[in-house]
């Protein structure tokens, strides 16, 4: 079986050359503001580290910035809440599969967490069932998590029911955790908003939206298109209409903005990801935004 985690690492390596990977690790570390008081060791500063963690005296002796590392008082847990309804098997805005973007995002976040010594758990499912994979800290576990997401997201699958999984998280996890929701691109329903509000009290909530396909995309005008919800055709004859195309992109931009405002009002850091190339930078911006929001 092709290793999904290797793909994630490859993606991260590409970004490592752009000095983003270290950035992400630094941002991830700062998701929890709490610091243990037990000093562990020093390591070179990477952009994204808190300035207050820099050991200025050691830096002066050494000649380059050094950051203090503390022994984590406890292991954190990253809970990946991934929607695996059939809507997630459709295409994303870039034309890639939304599932692949979700796996890439989950894999990146999970890998960073594991490298940081944290545990990764998975809550996934459809309208019919919610599945839970308990937290572990190994790469093989992360690989299984990603494989689980991969295999359960199919076009023939059940529809989504995100509130069911959010409810599961809210009910079952007492300890404070990092909850990263990787969700479908649609406005949140009232009950979902209520659950999200409740979750933000209990946990650190990060929200990644996988952007849906551009239905009026010009390269697709010649091909058949169907909705995964009911296999209904999206009429080909109207996808040429330039006026309709303009109105569609305007409405999509408007919807994205309203969704952003909604998450803002829910005090949840959110990010909309539209392509595989945008996953790592998107994740970075999400963590950065979360750090600056000081939630």
């Amino acid at each position: 079986m092709d290793s999904l985690l290797r793909r994630v690492k490859t993606k991260l390596t590409i970004h490592a050359h752009r000095k983003v990977r270290g950035l992400i690790e630094g941002e991830y570390r700062s998701v929890f503001h709490g610091r243990s008081m037990d000093f562990d060791d020093l390591r070179p500063y990477v952009p994204g580290d808190e300035f207050k963690d820099i050991d200025w005296k050691a830096t002066a002796r050494h000649g380059s910035p050094l950051t203090k590392r503390y022994i984590a008082s406890r292991k954190h847990t990253l809970v990946l809440v991934v929607d695996t309804g059939r809507d997630m098997a459709a295409l994303a805005e870039s034309g890639e599969s939304k599932r692949d973007l979700a796996i890439l995002a989950a894999g990146t976040a999970g890998y960073i967490a594991i490298r940081h010594g944290d545990m990764v758990a998975l809550v996934t499912g459809t309208s019919e069932a919610t599945h839970y994979m308990p937290p572990e800290v190994t790469e093989s576990h992360l690989e299984r998590v990603l494989q689980r997401i991969h295999s359960s997201t199919t076009l023939a699958g059940e529809p989504s029911n995100l509130s069911r999984h959010l409810d599961y998280v809210a009910r079952n996890f007492r300890r404070r955790m990092i909850v990263m929701v990787i969700a479908d691109d649609r406005p949140l329903a009232a009950d979902e908003q209520r659950l999200v509000r409740r979750l933000t009290v209990q946990h650190e909530v990060l929200w990644l939206t996988i952007g849906d396909a551009d239905l009026m995309r010009e390269e697709w005008t010649g091909s058949e298109m169907y909705d995964v919800a009911d296999s209904a055709r999206v009429p080909e004859f109207l996808r040429h209409d330039t006026a309709l195309r303009a109105e569609f992109s305007a409405s999509i931009a408007d919807a994205a903005m309203r969704s952003e405002e909604l998450f803002e009002s829910l005090t949840v850091s959110s990010r909309r990801i539209t392509s595989a190339a945008g996953v790592v930078p998107g994740l970075f911006r999400l963590l950065e935004a979360h750090k600056h929001a000081r939630r």
């Binding site: 691109d185 999206v234 040429h240 209409d241 309709l244 569609f248």
Partner: protein, 328 residues
């Protein structure tokens, strides 16, 4: 309105049904292997837009127009192949008649001749296809004009001869005095009878002979001889004798001879003394001819494709326009 190839619309109907059935079958077979194409989620992002509804309504209108044009086109094609025609039961007029006016232009006859000419002058306006010839005779016969259907010419000639009758100096009798005697009726009639051409074609041939049968001189043909010739050639002779009713005894024998000759040929004999009666006599002659030679009733079928051609053309234009708008 009738259809010559009445079965053609049925063929079109059948062909259309077959095409529709084939398309339905084909689409049904390919519908089963659905899920081909680009899988997307939340199409209501597009379909809920008002612009989408407008575009869809416009598209449906175009499709409806296209379908209407297509149906009209097929209907027009079906009707055209069915060859719509107007059917009429036509009794052809006796327009295959040949009439030779055979006028005795001896002095006493001129008034009657003029009356006959006047009647034919009027009739020539109504004629279609009849051919008329005019022969005048006295001692010898002169063809004033041969059998022709050129009614303008006939009319002109009749007018000219009528004018000449009124003018005492006019040479209307030119060429009619060559011969031994005057009013050589037998020779005149025989001359008229041989004026008919196309002896082998099936036409009604009649001579309208205006004379008093007052012969002076030696004839080659006697009137009975000429009548025999007429019978041989299938020519009917209608006699108009203005001299009969004057009850002159010496004329009586001549009148009887005239009547016998004419009736033998299958024609009719009219004795009169007033030129005013001539029009009614000519009417009777022409109507009698009609009864003698009734035209065979014919079914006349004339195709009437014009409205369907226009419909086909209009729907073709419509198809082009709607198709162009749909393809855009």
């Amino acid at each position: 309105m009738a259809l010559i190839a009445w079965w053609a619309p049925l063929v079109w109907l059948g062909a259309t049904a077959v095409v529709i059935a084939a398309v339905v079958w084909y689409r049904g077979r390919h519908r089963s292997s659905t899920a081909a194409g680009i899988p997307v989620a939340h199409r209501e992002r597009l379909t809920a837009l008002p612009a989408y509804r407008r575009a869809l309504a416009r598209y449906r209108l175009l499709v409806a127009g296209f379908v209407v044009c297509l149906v009209a086109m097929i209907a027009a094609a079906a009707m055209l192949t069915a060859r719509p025609a107007a059917v009429a039961l036509v009794t052809p007029d006796l327009n295959n008649r040949d009439i030779v006016l055979c006028l005795d232009v001896s002095g006493s006859m001129v008034d009657y001749d003029a009356a006959v000419l006047e009647v034919f002058q009027q009739l020539s306006v109504e004629f279609t296809g009849e051919r008329i010839s005019l022969v005048v005779f006295n001692a010898s016969a002169v063809t004033y004009f041969p059998l022709t259907a050129d009614y303008d010419y006939i009319s002109g000639q009749l007018a000219r001869l009528t004018a000449e009758f009124d003018d005492p100096d006019a040479p209307y009798y030119g060429g009619t005095l060559i011969g031994n005697g005057s009013s050589l009726v037998g020779d005149g009639l025989a001359s008229c009878i041989v004026r008919f051409d196309h002896a082998d074609s099936d036409r009604s041939r009649s001579v309208i002979l205006v004379t008093d049968n007052f012969v002076a001189g030696e004839q080659i043909f006697t009137l009975p001889d000429a009548a025999k010739l007429a019978v041989e050639r299938g020519v009917r002779v209608y006699g108009i004798n203005p001299g009969d009713a004057t009850a002159k005894d010496y004329l009586d024998d001549l009148a009887v001879e005239f009547e016998t000759a004419v009736v033998d040929s299958g024609g009719a004999y009219y004795a009169l003394d007033d030129p005013g009666v001539i029009p009614s006599v000519v009417d009777r002659i022409t109507s009698e001819q009609a009864s003698v030679l009734p035209g065979i009733q014919q079914v006349q079928i004339s195709e009437r494709p014009q409205p369907w051609i226009w419909l086909a053309f209009a729907s073709l234009v419509g198809l082009g326009l709607f198709g162009w708008r749909l393809k855009r």
